[in-house]
């Protein structure tokens, strides 16, 4: 599955949101550094999981990849062309290739549109994909692919359950036959017994259409199940990036270790002996991140060098994958599910 052609290249991606003061003459007094220097590749048919706490910039990253936000600097190359700088017809063409599945199927579907209109809307914009007479049939095919009854094409979103609505959202994402789908927390709003159904569907579709996923989620066991590689984000930066087995079995960055140890293990045996790293406090504000290493204010390994010199994301001695810590060392914290 891995090591197909590289279809997405993200290089030094930065997205700052200006903070302004004053009403008439707005002065910029600072910036929220939501994404602050992120680089990674994505290959055909591969899944890259992105994990991190709320506010770490995962959703902003998704928006920049989708060209819903323009990057402050850096580039997002899809098949070698920069979507961040594309305009007009070129941007429209490029957008066909990267689609999104949203988190909340209750608010991301227009309640006044039928399922047929929702799933078929991409064809209205990209008319070349499906000629007008053909659209209804195409939509019914898509509904069938995601496991919905094609006869329900004239129903409205409220007539479906949460899991079925998420399937509608997935069908809409598939409509233009993209190579990349960005899934932003696709199962977190669903009931536990329904989550497995949707995850299985996403995996089946990936094999069928050779899709590449950017899978953003806070549920670490779901990310592990579906991902080939995993990136851990903290305050707008990747602190660790590697294969799923490297991140989960040999985490090298203290933040990854703390994150993994905080995940409750669904097995009560030996729970008293389990090692647990409890981080104190909350992440600092992305408007004013700490100097040097951003994690140093909550890190138990922090020393002077951490405040002075920013650790780069690179392969460290004794570890087989990239991590951004001066004192990186692999440490098997816990085996989560």
């Amino acid at each position: 599955m891995v090591n197909g052609d590289r279809i997405l290249e993200v290089r030094d991606l930065v997205k700052h949101f200006p903070l302004t003061q004053g009403i008439l003459f707005k002065r910029q007094i600072g910036a929220i550094k939501a994404v602050d220097g992120v680089s990674f590749d994505l290959h055909k048919g591969e899944t890259l999981g992105i994990v991190g706490e709320s506010g770490c910039g995962k959703s902003t990253l998704a928006k920049v990849l989708m060209a819903l936000e323009r990057p402050t600097s850096g580039s997002v190359l899809i098949n070698g062309r920069d979507i961040g700088r594309a305009k007009g017809a070129e941007l429209k063409r490029m957008r066909r290739n990267i689609q999104m599945v949203m988190q909340d199927p209750y608010t991301s579907l227009n309640p006044r549109m039928t399922v047929g209109d929702i799933v078929g809307e991409p064809f209205e914009i990209h008319t070349e994909v499906a000629p007008k007479g053909d659209r209804r049939k195409k939509v019914q095919e898509l509904l069938d692919v995601v496991g919905l009854n094609p006869d329900h094409i004239n129903r409205y979103p409220h007539q479906f359950s949460g899991g079925q609505r998420q399937r509608i959202g997935i069908a809409r994402g598939l409509a233009l036959q993209p190579e990349i789908i960005v899934c932003d927390e696709p199962v977190s709003a669903l009931d536990v017994s329904i989550q497995a159904q949707v995850i299985n569907l996403l995996e089946r579709l990936q094999n069928e259409f050779d899709l590449a996923y950017i899978f953003i989620a806070h549920d670490l066991s779901v990310v592990r199940h579906i991902s080939d590689r995993v990136g851990v984000m903290y305050l707008g930066k990747f602190v660790e990036l590697g294969k799923d087995t490297e991140i989960y079995d040999k985490p090298a960055h203290p933040y990854t270790q703390a994150l993994l140890s905080a995940v409750p293990v669904p097995d009560p045996e030996g729970r008293e002996q389990r090692e647990r790293i409890i981080l104190q406090g909350d992440p600092p504000s992305p408007a004013n991140p700490p100097s040097g290493c951003r994690f140093r204010t909550r890190c138990w390994k922090a020393q002077e060098i951490c405040a002075e010199e920013e650790p780069l994301l690179q392969i460290r001695p004794g570890t087989g994958h990239e991590s951004a810590c001066h004192f990186a060392e692999t440490h098997d914290v816990v085996h989560i599910g």
């Binding site: 706490e53 709320s54 359950s161 899991g163 079925q164 009931d191 536990v192 017994s193 329904i194 989550q195 497995a196 159904q197 995850i199 299985n200 995996e203 806070h218 670490l220 066991s221 779901v222 592990r224 199940h225 799923d244 989960y248 703390a258 994150l259 140890s261 905080a262 995940v263 409750p264 293990v265 669904p266 097995d267 009560p268 045996e269 729970r271 647990r276 409890i278 981080l279 104190q280 406090g281 909350d282 085996h335 599910g337």
Partner: protein, 344 residues
Amino acid sequence: MKKTSADVLPVEGVYGDEPLLAVDDLHVEFRTRAGIVRAVNGVSYTVNPGETLAVLGESGSGKSVTAQAIMGILDMPPAHIPHGEIRFKGTDLLKLSEEARTQVRGQRIAMIFQDALSALNPVFTVGWQISEMFRVHRGMSKADAMKKAVELMDRVRIPAARQRVNDYPHQFSGGMRQRIMIAMSIALDPEVLIADEPTTALDVTVQAQIMDLLADLQRESQMGLILITHDLGVVADVADKIAVMYAGRIVERASVHDIYRAPAHPYTKGLLESIPRVDLKGQDLYAIKGLPPNLLELPTGCAFHPRCPYRQDNCVTDVPPLYQISGTRGSACHYWREVLDGER
């Protein structure tokens, strides 16, 4: 002599063999225009001092409605309780006057809500909202109550409590807001604490902090804790015993170790098997087929039968009672032996 709070409370300790809190065959229904929604259909569970009971279930399983019935905060109508008892130290709360109920609510039995931002009032300072408990229930002066509020914020480990007591809820992070909710709920030293999805909206790192805090507070005061959640990981971490709910009924009841080792109800088994595991990577996850039932039209017989891999003919017609498996363990499945043995 100044009256202590114990003198004026209607519920007192003649409860001998009774558990601290016992919910007994509780039924709750909502009479709506579309018909009668039977949200809770005969739920029974007990909690003892220092014990943690986890109530596990999906949305619509009736776990929160049961909790609201215990607290006495259901809107009636549309809600009705046609049958059942909620005994706190042997006294049936449902038979008490509203005035007496108010004495129990918040003082003896307290609750933490899921979404701290909407549960806190945005136009009052957090100090004012915490100290309200002392002003209203204990008749303290504003200044004394405020001092107590600072102490409580210290106890739930909010840094720089003295400086932050006059801040408003929006100035706190999600985890800190949940701490404020916890401070309010433990203000009057309740004997039972109900936590309704206390960490669902929080990140895992913050979730670990909050669950740690709850465990410490419980150890200090020997509260009985009812933890309502859908997270199988959290349950495995903290619970002593578990009640699994489906469509308004308890389908399985067991100690935490028993249930994870060998579930005795197909629904519990399905939930446990649908958790992603390392050795199943790259394969399909086990998924419970179908959808949770519509409470307006519950399936006949066992409510789980349309989704159940163990279904036989009598499941469609006969409602399974909660069969006793051993001691306190029970399963509402006609075929619990087969489930327990892992036959399918």
